[in-house]
């Protein structure tokens, strides 16, 4: 193994809130093999070069959504980005853009969690169903219509990709909208009316200018831009229809 071991430079944006005024770069020389991910690279740094480096990770298999970082300026999951693709050049690693940095590569994601909570991400059934009634019937086609939007791993790469979120952190943003949309179009759900209020609001979909980079970087092909932009149409319909229908669209 050691013969084909090479050294790559990893530049990390460091920030320690207790001592630093602002983040600064630090470069580490890391031995690597071809199958090593960027995550394994920063793990090496933590294990052997500088124990104080902080970052989130867990599954190592691109499913837990913890390990998002800016890698050479692009939002990426560090566990499925490989050092071999950068060598011999230096790899630049930073905390996800558009979020406040807590320390080193760790961002503050409380705002994102609040957004998730605000979209009522659970089935709001027309009428409650008992277990004795068994499962809802849902055809593979009905499943397919929302499945893609349900495969979001909450990695927030799309937020790091979306300049509109960067400019206005109140914007509900791509992933939360994808999830909201996922429930709205699930055949078991009847909560669309309640959720539209958020879609229509000033924090809602119209902050998006269809940059589309969110979908580009999404590691799970959720296509959040599609969820956001489809809902502009839904929201506009809701906006104008309320003048036509006596009850006035979504409340």
């Amino acid at each position: 193994m050691s013969e084909n071991q090479r050294i790559i430079e990893i530049e990390v944006l460091r920030y320690n809130p207790e001592t630093d005024k602002e983040p600064s770069k630090q470069v580490f020389d890391v031995p690597f093999t071809d199958d090593m991910s960027v995550l394994q690279g920063v793990q090496y740094i933590k294990d052997y070069l500088d124990g104080s480096l902080s970052f989130r990770w867990s599954c190592r298999m691109a499913i837990c959504g913890s390990c998002g970082m800016m890698i050479n300026g692009e939002p990426s999951l560090s566990c499925e980005t490989f050092l071999r693709d950068y060598y011999p050049a230096r790899v630049r690693v930073e905390a996800l853009a558009h979020f406040p940095i807590e320390k080193d590569l760790v961002i503050n994601m409380e705002g994102f969690i609040e957004k998730l909570e605000s979209i009522q991400p659970y089935i709001i059934p027309k009428e409650a169903r008992t277990l004795a009634q068994g499962e809802y019937l849902q055809t593979p086609a009905q499943l397919a219509s929302y499945e893609q939007f349900s495969s979001c791993i909450n990695c927030m790469l799309c937020y790091a990709a979306c300049p509109q979120f960067g400019l206005n952190s109140d914007f509900i943003g791509p992933a939360a909208m994808a999830l909201l949309h996922r429930y709205n179009i699930d055949s078991r759900d009847a909560g669309k009316g309640e959720r539209m209020e958020l879609v229509n609001s000033e924090e809602g979909v119209f902050n998006c200018t269809a940059v589309g980079y969110c979908s580009e970087v999404c590691p799970k092909h959720v296509d959040p831009a599609n969820a956001v932009n489809q809902n502009k149409t839904n929201s506009a319909a809701d906006y104008f229809m309320r003048f036509l229908t006596p009850k006035g669209g979504a409340k």
């Binding site: 909570e117 605000s118 300049p163 400019l167 209020e197 958020l198 229509n200 609001s201 000033e202 924090e203 809602g204 119209f206 200018t209 502009k232 929201s235 506009a236 906006y239 104008f240």
Partner: protein, 122 residues
């Protein structure tokens, strides 16, 4: 826990933006080519394509009026919306002022177009 949410009025502008964007995407290139290049340079189309008589007749025709109105106003609404957002994008958050200039300009131009088309008569 739930915040009070304020409904956004964006759908109005967004709908106009979308309509103008679609119209300019579909016809924009050819219109620019015809009025800005083919006619002045005498390419492809007969020289008198945009003669006073023809254009007056076109502008007096109800369909022609509609076409002219849609093109000028929707193009401007489309552009105003994009420019407004781009100002925000590059860090000019002039808010209400930018809004007034962009959308106000589009509105003014729309009114001028409508007035002129009416003035031209039927």
């Amino acid at each position: 826990m739930k915040k009070t949410l304020k409904r956004s009025n964006a759908p109005i502008f967004w709908a106009l933006f979308g309509a103008g964007g679609m119209l300019s995407a579909l016809l924009g290139p050819m219109l620019v080519f015809i009025t800005g290049l083919a006619i002045p340079l005498g390419m492809l189309l007969p020289v008198d394509t945009m003669s006073y008589a023809k254009m007056l007749a076109f502008a007096q025709n109800i369909v022609g009026k509609g076409f002219i109105f849609a093109i000028i106003s929707l193009f401007l609404w489309h552009a105003a919306h994009r420019i407004f957002h781009s100002l925000h994008d590059i860090g000019i958050h002039a808010g209400i002022v930018a809004k007034l200039i962009c959308y106000g300009g589009a509105l003014a131009a729309t009114l001028v177009t409508a007035y002129t088309l009416l003035a031209i008569g039927f």
